[in-house]
């Protein structure tokens, strides 16, 4: 890999305590993220995908330190974020931004759009006061909003426009990495396409790196360079987009892919329908976490958790956590 590593996550864990009992002691933990490691290289888009409760959003928040991780390290440009004090962390924040599903949940409804952006600029104090409005208007233009909309209040905007404002706010500090947490999930298809195009354009224009968190595999396939599949707080498979969508080596990824409805009414295909629901992340299954829903389950899967591992016939960087992927898919490489 000649590309520069921007972010490295090592054995990241985030547990939420469950209080209970007589005195409100911690009786157990929701193991939302349970030891994940991966890297993000400069200028690429890496997606975290999985079903609800797999820990993808929590992982994103833990990486940005919006939640304090229970364990593990996050390195940003080889800087261990654990070792930073508050001041250093705040300076770093300007490089790392986040876009939410509903950006306006975190915005004061009594501020106009331009005020929201000016405030973001003020906090990091990188633009002199006199130039702030100018810079805010420039940002709005960048995300495709008009100057006459600048003095409107949040509720006057449609979903797509709101997301544009959320993007403008994230861009205001010239970040390097943007975490997109289900950023297009609430949007209608025609608007979603506009926002996806905007994200791609901005990535080129500003050399952005995206950590794209989504449950929508169609969108992920469109935007990502690499994909990380999560299940119950663990990583099941990591691969470049092409390998993942065409030569997946994990039964869970395969089931996930096969569950996406296809746009060909005439073509009825064989579908892997998983039975049951995702187990609780309080007491995840022993062994492979997917074994309770896997149709290829063996004794080993119930006993021992598989590590993420590479095999010879895989493209470099394609790893999967399954004891039996050679047996299952090894002969189908093509």
């Amino acid at each position: 890999m000649s590309k520069k590593e921007l972010l490295r996550v090592e054995d990241l864990k985030l547990y939420f305590p469950i209080k209970g009992g007589f005195l409100g002691r911690t009786v157990n933990h929701v193991k939302a993220v349970d030891g994940i490691s991966f890297s993000v290289f400069e200028g690429e888009t890496v997606s975290l995908v999985g079903e609800s409760g797999c820990g993808k959003s929590t992982a994103g928040r833990a990486i940005l330190r919006l939640e304090k991780p229970t364990g593990g390290e996050v390195y940003y440009e080889d800087l261990n974020m654990n070792s930073l004090n508050k001041q250093e962390l705040r300076t770093l924040r300007k490089d790392l931004q986040i876009i939410f599903q509903d950006p306006f949940a975190s915005i004061n409804p009594r501020q106009t759009v331009v005020q929201v952006l000016e405030e973001a600029l003020l906090i990091q104090n990188i633009v002199p006061r006199r130039q702030r409005r100018e810079r805010a208007l420039e940002l709005l233009d960048t995300v495709g909003l008009k100057e006459h909309q600048a003095d409107r209040y949040p509720h006057e905007f449609s979903g797509g426009q709101r997301q544009r404002i959320g993007i403008a706010r994230a861009l205001s500090l010239n970040p390097k990495l943007i975490v997109c947490d289900e950023a297009v999930s609430a949007l209608d298809v025609s608007i979603r396409a506009q926002i996806l195009n905007l994200l791609k354009r901005l990535q080129k224009e500003f050399q952005l790196t995206y950590l794209f968190i989504s449950h929508d595999l169609g969108v992920v396939r469109h935007i990502s360079d690499r994909v990380i599949v999560m299940y119950l707080g663990r990583i099941m498979e990591v691969a470049d987009k092409k390998s993942l969508f065409e030569k997946s080596r994990h039964p869970y990824t395969r089931a996930l892919l096969s569950a996406i409805p296809v746009l060909k009414p005439s073509q009825k295909r064989e579908r892997i329908v998983l039975t049951g629901d995702v187990p609780s992340s309080i007491n995840p299954p022993v062994g492979c976490r997917f074994h309770t829903r896997c149709s290829y389950v063996q004794d080993l899967c119930r006993a021992e958790e598989p590590e993420l591992r590479l095999t010879g016939d895989m493209k470099e960087g394609h790893v999967a956590a399954c004891h039996y992927f050679e047996e299952l898919y090894g002969d189908k490489v093509g």
Binding site: E51, D188, V189, I191, A193, G218, H222, A259, I260, K264
Partner: protein, 336 residues
């Protein structure tokens, strides 16, 4: 398709919301046939009126919504002429409905058993014991594991997918002729969505009912529907058999929907988004409602709203492109 007698016919349905700002025409003259034993998909983006239309069929609109015109013919009778008492008999008995949010659609303070058996008790006058026995059968039918235990549990003890199964069990308890599924899997994970769609399809074949699926997801239409209507701003812009619509969408809006989807078979750097956004229902453009966003729009489109006109057998389109007077191209680009 057209040879089959429809189970439900909607004729020029108009539903409005009367707000302080005036009348908002959420459904503005919709005509549709639901094929007997088949599945009709109604697809459109948020605010297009598809859910309001679905709620209008059972007259379940919340204040200040009101049906202001049209007919809804079911079993040769107009539902809109029926009294509230007669409608009550039809709801949950002849026509049932399931909703988008399984997490909030079940009453949190009653057990699953209490909620399913209620249908039997009101429509079939069953005693408590018998109703519970029937409810247990329904839970088995919708594939819920350890149904005896679930019968006595409260909704919060069930996952989203299981709750939607319970909703389906409840809706199908009295073996309705028609099931209206309003975004039945939107709130669910993709693997659970596959389970629920499979279940509806399976039960439809087993019980021989007809289904209306309201959705924003063309993929779901492709997998479950034999016929499809595309709604935009309270009106139908295109209607066709599913295969035909997917092979050859005629309306620029339908084509635009297909084009804005990320595709795996075509590596496109940029998606073809539809410009602009859906106009507010209170402030409709004078001509064709899609004209401000339509790349083919001509003078006439901005002035006059086209009629929904037949285009070949079983196919209807509301677009000036297919009128005799159209000068420009008659091809609508799409990637299907």
């Amino acid at each position: 398709m057209s040879s089959v007698e429809p189970i439900l016919q909607i004729k020029d349905l108009r539903t409005s919301f009367f707000t302080d700002a005036g009348e908002v025409k959420a459904v503005d003259g919709v005509t549709l046939d639901v094929p007997k034993g088949g599945t009709l998909g109604v697809v459109g983006e948020s605010g297009c009126g598809k859910s309001v239309m679905a709620l209008s069929i059972l007259q379940l609109l919340d204040q200040p919504g009101k049906i202001v015109g049209g007919e809804i013919i079911f079993n040769h009778e107009d539902l809109l002429q029926k009294s509230e008492k007669e409608m009550r008999y039809i709801r949950g008995n002849n026509i049932s409905m399931i909703f988008q949010e399984p997490m909030t659609s079940l009453n949190p303070v009653y057990t699953i058993g209490e909620q399913i058996s209620e249908s039997y008790r009101i429509h079939q006058n069953m005693g408590k014991k018998e109703a519970y026995k029937k409810s247990l059968e329904m839970l088995k039918l919708v594939g819920i594991a350890s149904p005896e235990k679930r019968l006595h549990q409260y909704p919060y003890e069930l996952s989203g997918g299981m709750r939607q199964r319970v909703m389906i069990a409840m809706a199908l308890a009295c073996r309705p002729d028609l099931l209206i599924a309003d975004e039945p899997t939107t709130a669910l994970d993709v693997t659970v969505q596959a389970q629920i769609l499979e279940l509806i399809r399976e039960l439809q074949a087993k019980l021989g009912m007809s289904v209306i699926t309201i959705t924003h997801d063309l993929g779901i239409v492709a997998e479950t529907c034999c016929r499809v209507a595309v709604m935009y701003c309270g009106i139908i812009v295109e209607e066709a058999d599913t295969e035909e619509l997917f092979e050859n969408p005629k309306h620029p809006y339908t084509a635009g929907l297909f084009n804005s989807l990320p595709r795996h078979d075509l590596e496109k750097e940029e998606l073809e988004a539809i410009d602009g956004s859906v106009p507010s229902l209170a402030d409709m453009p004078p001509g064709c409602r899609f004209s401000p966003r339509c790349r083919y729009a001509e003078e006439i489109c901005l002035q006059q709203n086209p009629e929904l006109t037949p285009l070949g057998p079983g196919r209807m389109v509301r677009c000036w492109i297919y009128s005799d007077g159209w000068k420009g191209t008659k091809e609508v680009a799409h990637y299907v």
